[in-house]
């Protein structure tokens, strides 16, 4: 199962997965914080139920993109028993390569005069 999806031909990341990675790029967070932050950033367009969230977390953990963080000092002091997640080096790699691909896609689209108006 621990197949590393780092081959150039890997599938693009799904919406929820990409958003979770983006949120974790700002630092380690626990599950509920991830969920809330994703919902805030997408203005509620992406809603992560507990099942969907941990399904994605499982896939990312098994794929080696994120890992559990052992925070010495939890954010609010009393929430020590919560599990925090952070990006692994591999996760950073995948995220940046994904973002690169996306921005290439957008650049390509911008070069198309028929689409330029809609993207402005």
């Amino acid at each position: 199962m621990a197949k590393r999806p780092d081959t150039p031909a890997r599938k693009p990341l799904s919406g929820p997965v990409l958003h979770i990675l983006l949120v974790l790029a700002d630092g380690a967070k626990h599950g509920y914080a991830i969920k809330q932050e994703v919902e805030r950033r997408t203005e509620g367009a992406i809603r992560l139920g507990p099942g969907t969230l941990y399904e994605a977390v499982e896939r990312l953990e098994d794929g080696g993109l994120i890992e559990e963080a052992t925070l010495a000092e939890p954010e609010n002091g009393q929430q020590a028993q919560r599990r925090y997640y952070r990006l692994t080096a591999h996760g950073w790699e995948i995220l940046t390569s994904e973002l690169r691909q996306l921005s290439q896609l957008v650049e390509g689209a911008r070069a198309n005069p028929r689409l330029r108006k809609g993207l402005a």
Binding site: G49, P50, G51, T52, L53, Y54, E55, V57, E58, R83
Partner: protein
């Protein structure tokens, strides 16, 4: 509430594979709880949409996880021989297979499915609706945490009355004694009152609790803003402070976050607001809390105007609290019994607060739950009949599967899956009914509850109730067909063509079910008939006054502005005179109370009455203070003497009018006019009043209770000045048209004076019979539905019987039987079933008659007329239901039937 939802979600998480649950289950639970908390703040729709999302989430991600699990299992097992494949089939796979098969079965027979689902939807929806209403009003009316640990302390004084009362029954001295109860962790006492709030827009009248102690620890809630009262504020002559309700904060102050810095004018005096109660916390409808503020040590032991609430300590039980209370009652009787005679044999009882407030409603609540439960049983019997009929038709299919090696258990499981699916679909459709019903439930609720701000909602408990009913009825409906189908011998079924011995057993079973349906319908019909009779009897009662066209409202003059008794009397006199001058008004008066509910009583002493009456405790009588024109306005007939008039002025000989119940009870045949009585004072200092008139009895303790002896004192003499009176206006114009004129007349005297409790006399009467009306309406509806379901059941069984006996009918007709005789053959059987059902139903009702009698008025549970009408209705309905099958039997073509054989 929370543990329920959390538990439910924990159960639902079973859709995920075990390793996923082990890994993330705890965190998921935490997110679930946090989100639920947020949704709760958004109200009912938010909670429903939250659950909808959670179910969607469970379905989608659960499905993907299970699919991934299957792929993993297949991958690891790749390359092994195909043989163990059957072993690898998990319970889940079996269930999925059963579900798919059930779906195919239902799609193939949409008519059958629709009837089964709709029957259960009506019945489960009806049950959940009634449960929701009763739960919201009787079982869990308040938002307090651990509501069963919050108790009220009630008192029973056998010397005065046999009932146990909880509201305004104990004195500060008694409260001090009760506080020492070791089973209580915190206690509070409050006195209910009314206060005018002014300043800002319009003056307003609010129900006020005057507290002896901080109530927040007792109800276990925290103020939403600010704090509770400090001991210093609660002490004698504390600073002027107030706590307001969330409702008042929102409606009057627009939810101003800076409310704690704004003073509020209560009865003209400025008070600073120190706290806002949390939403939903309305103690008997109170919007304002004030410290009681007086010195309680000076109050006599029998000034009983306080309601006492307490919270049970940690592990202490209600029994412990009650044991200490009864010991205390005995102790107080020994210590003070010589001075306070009412202590003889008195009892103190602690009861959960909701039960204490709504004790009167419980019998009716349980009766309604039972009645609607019967409807569900009938619907289940009907759907069972459908399933039985279908499984008879499917006998061949089942026999083939058995013959091919399917286990009997597996077949039974398949049939149960089908019925459970029908049950769940029924519950889901029923929930729509609940949502629609709860919206209109408020319309059935009388004003006394609207004031308390109670609402029925689709709570988690209601959802769980629906789920339990769905599963229960699914099992109930599927059990008999499953047992019957798997008992069948495949050899017999395959040999015969469906009309085998097994079918005969099934038919007998179905007849038993129809008899059960009829019996349950009979119970409901009888109950509805008795309730309707009670309600009609109440409506037909002569109230002793004419309630049509009388508008009532209440006024309370603040003592700050109307300090003296003369000022109060002058105000009300002018108000009555001005209102009388409004066009179309034919009568106006003020009174401290009016029928059908006149709760104020006083102890009275009749001159020359026998010592036995006046010896120990003085008798009580209703004590009404009324203005001139009161009896004309209510149209209460005068039986003897005169009404109050210009002769009853301050400084003249005190006069009083009594009702005829008073004359019968206290005057022992002596001439009433000219006899004298007086209100009991502490030292017998009140002057004697002369009886100048006798009025007919008007229902003064509710429409269904006997009339209480009552005395009427003239307001105009000013001896008994009350600052809180009701205005009664009789007019032939509708109340809505009259009200603005009355308000104008009032504003011309004092623009700062609010009126409240505006209602017509007929509305006031409807409140006092609402329980019977509500029961009659609901039971009537249930009985109608039950009868319809029973008719469908009769039709189904008879149709089946006719088609199963077509040949027999053909033979009978061929050898010369009359068509009428063949019809009678079918109808006779129906009448037999109905008679059996009627007998059992009447028996059931008689067995329950003792518990029913308390809800009835003017009719016995064994009323022969009601039973006769029920039998007639039932007979007519069964004959109608059986007519079509019977007619079909009589039209059988003998030649065709015989040729088929």
């Amino acid at each position: 509430m929370t543990p329920f939802s959390a538990h439910l979600y924990r159960l639902l998480r079973a859709v995920y594979p075990a390793d996923f649950r082990r890994r993330y289950g705890h965190d998921m639970q935490r997110i679930f709880a946090a989100d639920l908390e947020r949704a709760r703040a958004g109200g009912l729709m938010a909670v429903l949409s939250f659950w909808w999302q959670i179910l969607g989430d469970l379905a989608a991600s659960g499905w993907r996880q299970r699919a991934a699990q299957c792929r993993r299992v297949l991958r690891t097992n790749r390359g092994t021989p195909q043989l163990p494949r059957q072993k690898r089939r998990t319970e889940m796979d079996t269930l999925l297979q059963d579900l798919r098969y059930a779906r195919r079965q239902f799609v193939r027979r949409p008519g059958f499915t629709a009837i089964a689902v709709i029957s259960l939807a009506l019945a489960i929806g009806g049950n959940s609706l009634i449960y929701g209403i009763i739960d919201g009003f009787v079982f869990h009316p308040f938002p307090y945490p651990d509501p069963d640990r919050l108790v009220a302390v009630g008192a029973t004084f056998p010397r005065l009355s046999s009932e146990t009362r909880y509201v305004e029954v104990l004195s500060p001295a008694e409260y001090e004694d009760i506080r020492t109860n070791r089973a209580f962790s915190s206690t509070a006492a409050f006195d209910l009152g009314n206060r005018n709030i002014s300043g800002g827009n319009a003056p307003e009248r609010v129900i006020t609790a005057l507290l002896l102690d901080d109530l927040f620890p007792v109800v276990a809630m925290k103020p939403v803003l600010g704090r509770g009262f400090t001991p210093e504020e609660l002490g004698p002559n504390g600073p002027p402070v107030a706590i307001i309700s969330h409702r008042l904060w929102q409606t009057r102050f627009g939810g101003d976050p800076a409310i704690l810095t704004r003073p509020i004018l209560v009865g003209g005096a400025a008070k600073s607001i120190v706290g806002v109660m949390p939403p939903g916390l309305l103690l008997i409808g109170t919007d304002l809390w004030l410290p009681w503020g007086g010195d309680t040590s000076a109050m006599p032991r029998d000034s009983r105007q306080f309601t006492i609430l307490a919270r049970l300590r940690g592990e202490a039980s209600l029994g412990q609290a009650n044991a200490e209370l009864s010991a205390l009652a005995e102790r107080l009787d020994r210590a003070h019994g010589s001075e306070f005679k009412e202590y003889a044999g008195w009892r103190l009882t602690a009861t959960p607060w909701a039960a204490a407030l709504f004790q009167d409603l419980r019998p009716a609540a349980f009766m309604l739950m039972g009645a609607v439960g019967f409807v569900l049983l009938i619907a289940c019997a009907n759907v069972t009949n459908l399933f039985l009929a279908r499984s008879t038709m499917r006998q061949r299919e089942l026999a083939v599967r058995l013959a091919l090696g399917a286990g009997r258990r597996r077949l039974a499981q398949q049939l149960l899956t089908e019925s459970l699916l029908v049950g769940l679909a029924g519950a889901a459709a029923g929930l729509l009914l609940v949502l629609a019903g709860l919206r209109s439930a408020d319309a059935l609720i009388p004003a006394q509850f609207q004031l308390l701000d109670l609402h029925a909602t689709v709570s988690t408990r209601v959802l769980l109730w629906s789920l339990a009913l769905a599963l229960g009825s699914g099992v109930l409906v599927g059990l008999l067909p499953a047992i019957q189908a798997t008992r069948a011998d495949p050899h017999e079924s395959l040999k015969a063509d469906g009309r085998s011995g097994g079918a005969a057993v099934g038919h007998r079973l179905r007849q038993v079910l129809v008899v059960a349906e009829i019996a349950l319908s009979v119970v409901l019909l009888l109950g509805a008939g008795l309730m309707m009779t009670s309600f009609v009897r109440i409506l037909r009662l002569d109230p002793g006054f004419d309630p049509r066209g009388v508008l009532t409202m209440r006024l309370t003059l603040p003592r700050e502005t109307y300090g003296s008794e003369e000022a109060t009397t002058r105000f009300f006199q002018r108000l009555v005179d001005d209102v009388r001058n409004i066009p179309s008004v034919t009568g106006a008066a003020v009174a401290n109370q009016f029928p059908p509910s006149a709760p104020f009583t006083g102890q009275i002493e009749v001159e020359g009455a026998q010592a036995s009456v006046s010896g120990a405790t003085l008798p009580t009588a209703g004590t009404s203070i009324v203005s001139r024109g009161y009896f004309q306005t209510l149209r209460t007939p005068m039986l003897a003497g005169r009404m109050f008039d210009g002769r009853d002025r301050p400084g003249t000989q005190p006069t009083v009018v009594v009702n005829s119940a008073f004359v019968n009870r206290f005057l022992d045949g002596r001439p009433a006019i000219g006899a004298r009585l007086r209100l009991a004072g502490r030292d017998g200092s009140n002057p004697w009043s002369e009886i100048i008139g006798i009025v007919a009895d008007a229902r003064n303790s509710g429409m269904t209770a006997p009339v209480r002896p009552e005395i009427f004192l003239p307001m105009e003499t000013g001896r008994t000045a009350w600052n809180q009176l009701h205005l009664l206006v009789r007019s032939d114009r509708p109340a809505a048209a009259l009200l603005p004129d009355v308000r104008r007349a009032l504003a011309a005297i004092d623009p700062q004076q609010p009126v409240y409790n505006i209602q017509t006399l007929e509305e006031a009467m409807a409140v006092s019979s609402f329980q019977q009306r509500l029961s009659a309406v609901l039971l009537g509806t249930f009985a109608g539905v039950a009868l319809l379901l029973a008719a469908i059941g009769i039709y189904g069984v008879m149709s089946y019987m006719v088609s199963a006996r077509t040949q027999e009918m053909g033979v009978r007709l061929a050898i010369g039987a009359q068509r009428g005789a063949v019809m009678w053959l079918v109808l006779k059987q129906v009448l037999g079933l109905s008679l059996a059902g009627l007998t059992i139903g009447v028996g059931l009702l008689l067995a329950a008659s003792r518990s029913l009698e308390g809800l009835l008025f003017g009719v016995r549970a064994t009323d022969p007329l009601t039973i006769a009408v029920t039998a007639a209705v039932l007979g007519a309905v069964s004959l109608c239901a059986a007519w079509a099958p019977a007619a079909r039997a009589s039209r059988v073509d003998p030649v065709g039937a015989l040729r088929y054989e």
